[in-house]
């Protein structure tokens, strides 16, 4: 016992401890296909999202024409050989608009997930560590969570020029309180753990504690939460565009296309149908990915929700 304590002290004195490997690389490389087979939801979700990303990136080479090219002589033609998804009221090719629209929806979804996670992480860490700020900050977060997210996004969009950036900021503002609550919860639980107590007693500074103990434990729940935020953001963006408060009409997005097709949906339902299918499938894939990740990363969470 005495010997171990002495060598521990010696280790602290002689060399800086290295950051432990969180995920052994070799195990992951061999086990990827086994992992995917055991967790089909992750496989399906990730596959569909990958297809959508590829479609968005390779849009100009997938048989599309200029999505903003107006040609009123061929208004609202039903789907055919020449126009795979038909044309809308201004004669624009719906297939091209849908394929290019994937860019906006995916961009908004991922950006919001990233931004909300980053801001929520920062605020959650602050609230968890700085005790006298905890009460105040959490009350403010509660207040912000009491405003239905879509209404908050609508209010923000009413005050700013329509642009993709503003949409991203508006939706992120509505979503980050959830993340901060989550991170704060993790911090509070971890602060009670013996090994964190030991680290503090050994003199580890707070940034190192955060880096080595807190952050690895937030990765799993934050990743799951981030996928749900991504799905929610895509839907909110579509709703905002649908009611005219979202991305500018020049840039095609799935919500925009459906908004344009609103007036004619009873006679030309195909205008609303195709972007609707693409949006639903993408959001479904993100949700499946989130569920699969949750089940894989922490089975205890699976029982909770």
């Amino acid at each position: 016992m005495g010997g171990a304590a002495c060598s521990g002290q010696a280790a602290f004195v002689t060399a800086a401890p290295t950051l432990p490997d969180i995920l052994p690389p070799i195990k992951i490389r061999r086990g990827v296909t086994g992992f995917l087979r055991r967790h089909p939801t992750i496989a399906i979700g990730a596959a569909i999202i990958l297809v959508m990303i590829l479609m968005a990136l390779l849009a100009p080479w997938l048989g599309t024409v200029d999505p903003t090219a107006i040609a009123t002589y061929r208004r609202t033609r039903p789907p055919s050989q020449a126009w795979w998804f038909g044309t809308d009221m201004l004669g624009r090719d719906i297939y091209s608009r849908v394929v290019f629209g994937a860019r906006i929806s995916l961009l908004v979804g991922f950006s919001v997930a990233l931004a909300a996670s980053a801001v929520g992480l920062a605020i959650g860490l602050v609230a968890g560590f700085v005790r006298w700020l905890d009460g105040v900050v959490m009350r403010i977060m509660d207040g912000m969570m009491s405003i239905p997210p879509i209404l908050l996004a609508i209010a923000l969009m009413a005050l700013t020029r329509a642009s993709v950036g503003n949409v991203i900021i508006a939706i992120s503002l509505a979503e980050f309180p959830r993340v901060s609550r989550l991170v704060r919860g993790v911090v509070l639980t971890l602060r009670e753990q013996p090994y964190v107590d030991a680290a503090v007693a050994a003199g580890t500074r707070t940034p190192m504690i955060i880096l080595r103990h807190i952050l690895p434990n937030t990765v799993a729940p934050m990743t799951v939460q981030a996928t749900y935020i991504c799905a929610s953001a895509m839907i909110i963006e579509a709703i905002l565009s649908f009611i005219g408060a979202g991305t500018p009409p020049i840039i095609p997005s799935w919500g925009n296309i459906m908004a344009d097709g609103r007036a004619l949906w009873q006679v030309k339902p195909f205008i609303v149908f195709f972007p609707a299918v693409f949006l639903s499938v993408t959001v479904l894939a993100v949700n499946l990915l989130g569920d699969g990740l949750r089940d894989a990363l922490d089975p205890r969470l699976a029982k909770g929700l």
Partner: protein, 313 residues
């Protein structure tokens, strides 16, 4: 018990204060000049000055906030820029359709979702369970207006069972009022049903694993008393919590559903307000909805003591 209720009510006051502050501060937090954006592209400088004065942006923040809170406490939610009518009046005109829609959606969703969740938990791991969970994930993923258009296309246009759009006030006949609200409620309720079914299943699974359920089964109690008398009552707290939290989904979804089904309610009012950038109206509606949401959750917290006698604060 009474002290608990009073204390709970008092604790919502800071939350509401923060909600009011956040909604008010949005005007100041936004980059650029909100008055110019509200005035629009063809505005003259006089328009912008006029709008800035009516929004109170030319006066100091705290002074304006104080005035605004004072107005709020007197029940004045501001004046619409576009119509010059008090916001409270505009809301009052449109409240009945939205209230009807949300009430029917709430009842429908709970009545459908809770049994679904209970059955899924009871038959955990079987095809029924997986089917319910698959439906739940689908319910989360398909946006409200897509479901709305889909339902309207199939049930109203193709098969003509139900009216396509529109709203009939309750005073004009209960059956007609209900018929017009069936499809919108189903559309709005999809996400809500998915959420409640999942929570019900999770809560029931936890409860069904408890020892007292095993005792009940050993005693020879039948399936229905076990499920509904013993298990569901104990699982009720998280389920009811989620029902309360999910009302935010209903409020947000009402905006879209009313647009799809042409229901002249508060959601449509919000959409019109956005298109005209009538910010005081939007502000008033957001504030009102948030307060209603906080109050509903307060009510639900208070009913906890009824559901679970062990909860005594």
């Amino acid at each position: 018990m009474l002290t608990y209720i009073v204390r709970r009510i008092l604790s919502t006051i800071p939350v509401m204060a923060i909600v009011a502050f956040v909604v008010f501060a949005l005007l100041y937090v936004v980059p650029g000049d909100p008055a110019a954006i509200i005035a629009g592209d063809q505005a003259t400088p006089e328009d912008i000055i006029r709008i800035r004065a009516s929004l109170g942006l030319d006066r100091p923040f705290l002074v304006r906030f104080g005035e605004w809170v004072w107005q709020l406490l007197h029940g004045d939610l501001g004046t619409s820029i576009f119509t010059n009518l008090p916001v409270t009046d505009l809301i009052h005109q449109r409240v009945e359709p939205t209230l009807s829609l949300m009430a029917i959606t709430l009842v429908l969703s709970v009545v459908v979702a809770v049994p679904l969740g209970v059955v899924a938990a009871w038959k955990a791991g079987t095809f029924i369970d997986r089917a319910v969970m698959a439906f739940a994930v689908l319910g989360f993923s398909v946006p409200v207006f897509v479901v709305g258009y889909g339902l309207a296309y199939v049930f109203a246009l193709r098969w003509e069972w139900l009216p396509v759009q529109g709203y009939v006030p309750l005073a004009d006949g209960v059956w007609r009022w209900f018929r017009h609200l069936i499809l919108p409620s189903l559309a709005l309720g999809c996400v809500y049903i998915a959420l409640i079914a999942r929570i019900t299943r999770a809560a029931m699974l936890e409860v069904l694993a408890q020892d007292y359920i095993r005792t009940a089964r050993a005693k020879g109690l039948g399936q229905r008393p076990i499920l509904f008398v013993h298990a569901l009552k104990n699982a009720a707290v998280p389920i009811v919590t989620t029902i309360g939290i999910g009302i935010a989904l209903l409020i947000g979804g009402a905006v879209v559903t009313e647009s799809v089904f042409a229901i002249p309610g508060l959601g449509r009012l919000t959409v019109d307000a956005i298109l005209r950038r009538d910010y005081p109206l939007i502000q008033g509606i957001v504030l009102m909805f948030s307060f209603v949401y906080v109050l509903v959750n307060l009510l639900i917290d208070v009913t906890y003591t009824l559901l679970d006698p062990r909860i005594r604060y």
